[in-house]
């Protein structure tokens, strides 16, 4: 019998799989700038972010996404940062956000 056209398709489970080991490039970022680990997702960086008002940039979210392994998206979003440094002044955990963002931005494939 020919395969029928079902009119719908299956999709993979959307849940993040944390069992997957961290990507090597993610590990490099975390080791180069260990202060990233101190992030407690309080959101102060996003609250003061100038670029975040107009773009999907929110540093604490980048940290969360980074571990999830979606490096292309992290890199892309990190490039919205204008390096004004307000977030770094406000971060209660002293994360070196400037350097972290630069490392993250380098994860995106170079623009043609």
């Amino acid at each position: 019998m020919p395969k029928p056209d079902f009119g719908f398709a299956f999709a993979p489970n959307r849940a993040l799989d944390l069992s997957a080991p961290l990507l090597p490039e993610v590990q490099v970022v975390l080791e180069t700038e260990p202060s990233i680990r101190a992030c407690m997702a309080c959101g102060q960086c996003a609250a003061v972010c100038t670029a975040g008002a107009f773009t999907p940039l929110a540093f604490y979210r980048l940290v969360l996404q980074l571990r999830g392994g979606d490096v292309a998206a992290v890199g892309e979003r990190a490039r919205h940062c204008m390096l004004c440094g307000k977030c770094q002044m406000t971060c209660p955990r002293g994360v070196n956000i400037r350097n972290a963002v630069l490392l993250m931005a380098a994860l995106a494939p170079p623009k043609p």
Partner: protein, 353 residues
């Protein structure tokens, strides 16, 4: 009083005298299951189970599609209860798990909001001149089969054991979400570890296998399955279950909900067509049975009168393991004589002996 552990919770189930209400889905896809259940209860066990031909759908499927207001479904339920009252019964036996959840929910609402019960009585009287009493016991058919598992097993010539190797058959269960997730006290074992199917399989000598997505929904999703373009939801959630049970190599999937029984059967075919994959080793799919179908097979009922030819995943590999003798030629023959054979899927293996 020791704190309640739901896992050990035993629901109270009356021994006899039931008013029976059917399931739209079971009647549609597994007509032999309900017939076999009534046959077992009435003829093998001599119980009094009454059916009133005037009962209707509970409208639960439409309710969960958000097409029927709460007041409406409450009054439809009240009408069913009025038939039960009129026939002199107080124990309600429900075939469908969605329906069972609906009855539990309405009784719960009436208990906590007595004014709603009064409104319902009034609405039913105005619209149909009927009145009703509340049931003293609300029992799903799987509850009753579980409750009667020992007398059934005593009468059974078969066991859930591979006849040639004496290996206990590996059973995974899938309990319908609305059986006990909404009201844990409504089901044996509560919400997390319902024992209603595992206890039944073990009584017949099967080995229960726990698996990661045991409590994940089959994915019916009401409006999702009922709209063709939305069915990917249903399929994908069942697939999560199949993927998770595959490593445990089950011989049988046991269900108590008519919808789940249908989905876990049909989606194996659909997934095989779409992805080329089956979740057993031989490409025949994992057989799926509901509690009544299992009980009827164990009691030696004829598989084709039971309607097992209406399953897409064939049951013969399981019947052969158990050692159930069947007339292969009878499978697709009808009252009027030999009928045509079903078509053959392109991936899922079926055989027409």
């Amino acid at each position: 009083m020791t704190p309640l552990l739901w896992k050990d919770y035993q629901k109270e189930v009356p021994d006899n005298h039931y008013f029976f209400v059917r399931s739209c889905i079971r009647q549609t896809f597994f007509p032999g299951a309900e017939a076999a259940l009534l046959d077992i209860l009435r003829n093998s066990l001599g119980l009094d189970v009454f059916e009133d031909r005037r009962h209707t759908t509970c409208t639960g499927i439409a309710y969960h599609c958000d097409l029927v207001p709460l007041e409406t479904i409450m009054t439809v339920i009240a009408r069913q209860l009025s038939l039960m009252t009129e026939a002199g019964y107080r124990h309600l036996l429900v075939s469908c798990v969605t329906s069972f959840g609906i009855y539990l929910e309405m009784l719960d609402m009436w208990q906590h909001h007595p004014e709603m019960l009064e409104q319902t009585r009034e609405a039913l009287w105005k619209s149909t001149r009927r009145s009703f009493e509340l049931p003293v016991a609300l029992v799903h058919t799987s509850d009753l089969v579980y409750h009667l598992r020992k007398p059934i097993a005593d009468r059974s010539p078969h066991r859930l054991v591979d006849k040639s190797t004496q290996r206990a058959l590996r059973v995974v269960d899938h309990v319908g979400c609305h059986y006990a997730k909404i009201f844990p006290a409504g089901g044996f074992g509560g919400a997390e570890f319902p024992s209603v199917l595992s206890g039944l399989a073990e009584t017949f000598g099967g080995e229960m296998v726990d698996y990661p997505e045991r409590r994940h929904c089959c994915g019916f999703g009401f409006r999702h399955y009922l709209l063709q373009e939305n069915r990917g939801y249903s399929l994908s959630n069942s697939r999560i279950k199949f993927e998770s049970m595959e490593a445990f190599a089950p011989d049988l999937i046991l269900t108590n909900c008519p919808g789940c029984n249908m989905f876990l059967d049909r989606w194996q075919y659909t997934l095989a067509e779409m992805s080329g994959k089956t979740y057993d080793r031989e490409g025949k799919g994992i057989p799926v049975l509901s509690h009544e179908e299992l009980a009827a097979l164990m009691l030696g009922r004829d598989p084709w009168t039971l309607g097992l030819q209406m399953h897409q995943v064939q049951l013969e590999p399981l019947l052969d393991k158990i050692g159930i003798v069947y007339q292969a030629r009878q499978k697709y023959s009808m009252l009027a004589g030999a009928a045509s054979l079903p078509g053959e899927p392109s991936v899922l293996k079926v055989s027409f002996q």
